[in-house]
Amino acid sequence: MSLPATKSDVVVAGPFKPRPATVVPLAAQPRRFDLRGLAVKVAQSVLPPIVVLAILLGLWQIAFSDPNSSLPPPSEVWAQSRDLIVSPFFENGDQDIGLGWRVLVSLERVAYGFGLAAIVGVLVGALIGQSIWAMRGLDPIFQVLRTVPPLAWLPLSLAAFLDSRPSAIFVIFITSIWPVIINTAVGIRNIPQDYRNVALVLRLNHVEYFFKIMVPAAAPYIFSGLKIGVGLSWLAIVAAEMLTGGVGIGFFIWDAWNSSRLTDIIVALVYIGLVGFMLDKLVSFLGALVTRGTSSN
């Protein structure tokens, strides 16, 4: 596999190698080439999704342009839900607000629920990861609980908290905590003996060991758990809000369905997808920032 790659490298690199005889033209050439390369790179990553999106919208338009079709085509979405698309942050009264506001309300709940899950999950994972017996005893239980769908927790949660707001937050918490616990525990188990020995020789106490060795050493694992967790949180909040009400984006969908505003639902779906995507990227970015250097030795 490596042989053909090297070969093609040589072929591509050859013509651009500066030769001493032709100093003047070649001095400028690499830069121009780089700019073009950058443009090509951007086009390569941006153009395909745009083209595919255009094709999909076109197909959708054709498939549902019949007036008797059950779902609205893109043109109708634009015609009926334009205010939702173009201005995310309008406010015309208590329930008539932009989707941006609704997303923010949902994000606030996610922040509470997921934030709590992250803190508790890392602490519990760190405790479990240090004991082989805790790991053996608890891991199967967590693996089972992990598969319980978010909404299945909701009735219990409502019964326990008697209020929809903490219930929704609890559902997020309980949905997203498992991958954080499991990944943290695995990360702690995988801390090399060398790092433990360093801590032992220095006589680090538990708190110092936790912050100076355990968390940074397990950070790559912890962040992969957080990344799964934040995705689950976002799944859970939309589902939970559909049932608990309020002003979140989940309830908006439910409300739109009850008043047959299908185009609004489609716009909301796009919002949810984009926000979920951004949450995922945000956690990945934080992870890359924090674990700089950790994974490479």
Binding site: N197, V201, R203
Partner: protein, 265 residues
């Protein structure tokens, strides 16, 4: 006269379930303050195990480790270890790696400015002051090993324990670091125990060479005094009679009397 470090009839048996292996048996050794002692022996005979016992990272099965007549059985910064594979923390810079040790060991004893000076002094000692902000992944193997040594020295240990500190390095870098180690030893007068595979390294650096028999149940086969004047120069010593004699004695021990037996069960 009481020794600085005393290994008093030490034995170590590892047990896992019903199976148990006796790795070390009846190790007796006394080391004086400021001495440079090498431990040499074939792979797997228990050198690292012995070093870990002195470090307190492993518990002895029989006997005791006495440092200044006090029994030691838990690890501490008074017995700093330079591990076989440097074991720097990859998420910390060179400076931060040394700082982790310094800020822990000298907490309350040195001010922040004094600690900074102390860190820089030790990094300068191993000629790594130019790379304070680099991470371990950005420096070479020899540089990592030097930072590991700086970290250990910065703890101001009573005994410095080196587990094949230059084992993974190329011959040139190794020679360079050996010279630096001799210089540091001359300047600071540390008590050092060094594990090595390399006969020349052992003779060049040590006051005494401890030769271990093959396992299982390895023990000290012979202790050789190296009566060479310091400072030592590797080129001058290359044809020195005493040097060659010491070298021969170690080689004879390792390759005639205690030849490495593959799969000695």
């Amino acid at each position: 006269m009481s020794a600085y470090l005393k290994l008093d009839h030490i034995g170590k048996t590892f047990t896992r379930g019903s199976a148990s292996t006796e790795v070390l048996r009846d190790i007796r050794l006394t080391i004086d303050k400021g001495e440079y002692v090498s431990i040499i022996g074939h792979s797997g005979c228990g050198k690292s195990t012995l070093l870990n016992l002195v470090a307190g990272l492993t518990q002895v099965s029989q006997g005791a480790v006495l440092l200044e007549n006090q029994e030691v059985n838990s690890p501490g910064p008074d017995r700093a270890v330079v591990f076989q594979n440097h074991s720097l923390l990859p998420w910390l810079t060179v400076y931060e790696n040394v700082n982790l040790a310094v800020s822990k060991v000298f907490a309350g004893r040195k001010t922040k400015a004094e600690r900074h000076d102390w860190i820089m002094e030790n990094l300068t000692l191993v000629q790594m002051a130019h790379a304070t902000d680099k991470r371990p992944s950005e420096i070479s193997g020899g540089m990592k090993q030097r930072v590991g040594i700086a970290r250990a020295l910065a703890m101001e240990p009573k005994i410095l324990l080196l587990d094949e500190p230059f084992g993974a390095l190329d011959a040139l870098t190794r020679a360079h670091l050996q010279d630096q180690m001799m210089e540091i030893h001359a300047r600071l007068g540390n008590t050092i125990i060094m594990i090595t595979h390399d006969v020349d390294e052992a003779v060049l650096l040590s006051d005494r060479i401890v030769m271990m028999t093959n396992g299982p149940a390895a023990t000290i086969g012979e202790v050789l005094d190296v009566p060479l004047e310091r400072p030592r120069n590797r080129i001058a010593l290359a044809s020195d009679r005493t040097y060659l004699k010491c070298r021969e004695a170690v080689l004879k021990f390792l390759y005639e009397r205690h030849r490495f037996v593959e799969a000695a069960e």
